[in-house]
Amino acid sequence: MRIELFYTPGCEKCAETKDELRAAAKELIPDASWRELNALDELDYAVELGVVTLPSIAIDGNVVFSSLPNPRQFRRELRKRIGHR
């Protein structure tokens, strides 16, 4: 599974939550790839995936969260996807 978090530099909201989300991803799916992408540097890729708000999280190339979820919401989404594998 490929998890990509698009953020803007200096986003305090992102910094507070992203470590918890990354830990949740690694705990549930140890082989998941986790990338944190500066939307300014990856603008074309963000547009390609359909990111229109920041921060956003894409899973396997689809924008799943258009704002940061809390760790519980994120775990629920990941479990749903593991179940569908």
Binding site: P9, C11, A46, T53
Partner: protein, 141 residues
């Protein structure tokens, strides 16, 4: 010195209707009303009106502009908060451009399909293709 709505509209190069609309959208508020009930504005409303107009030209919706003006008034907000709003707007514009390019390409293909001759509308390949895209067969009508 307080300015009437007509005076400030004239200085900002907008209509009085526009200013009333901005007021309904909670973007500007008259400083006071005269004894006759006319709206009166302070001169510092002028840069605010110009800011709103310029932001509209840059593609910001009135909701976005309200958010920007709120950010501007917040002590805790800083430039990077505004940059995030601007970046989100750019992402939205780029998404629209991408969708429009797809539409434009589809139209190019449709135009290629049509020889532009005088055949009947029932045989028009462009209309037929649009019907197919809608899941309607022209023969099924």
């Amino acid at each position: 010195m307080a300015l009437t709505i007509g005076k400030i509209a004239n200085l900002a190069n907008v209509s009085t209707d526009t200013l009333r609309y901005y007021e309904r959208e909670r973007l500007i508020t008259p400083a006071a009303k005269s004894s006759g009930g006319y709206r009166l504005y302070e001169r510092d409303a002028l840069p605010r009106i110009r800011f709103i107009k310029q932001a509209q030209r840059c593609g910001f919706s009135l909701t976005d502009i309200r958010a920007l003006l709120t950010l501007r008034a917040e002590n805790r907000a800083c430039c990077r908060d505004v940059r995030r709003v601007a970046l989100e707007k750019k992402l939205q514009l780029e998404a629209k451009i991408k969708a429009m390019k797809v539409m434009s390409k589809a139209l190019t293909n449709l135009i290629r399909e049509c020889s532009g001759d005088a055949r009947a509308l029932a045989d028009c390949p462009i209309l037929a293709a649009l019907d197919r895209a809608n899941g309607l067969g022209r023969t099924a009508r």
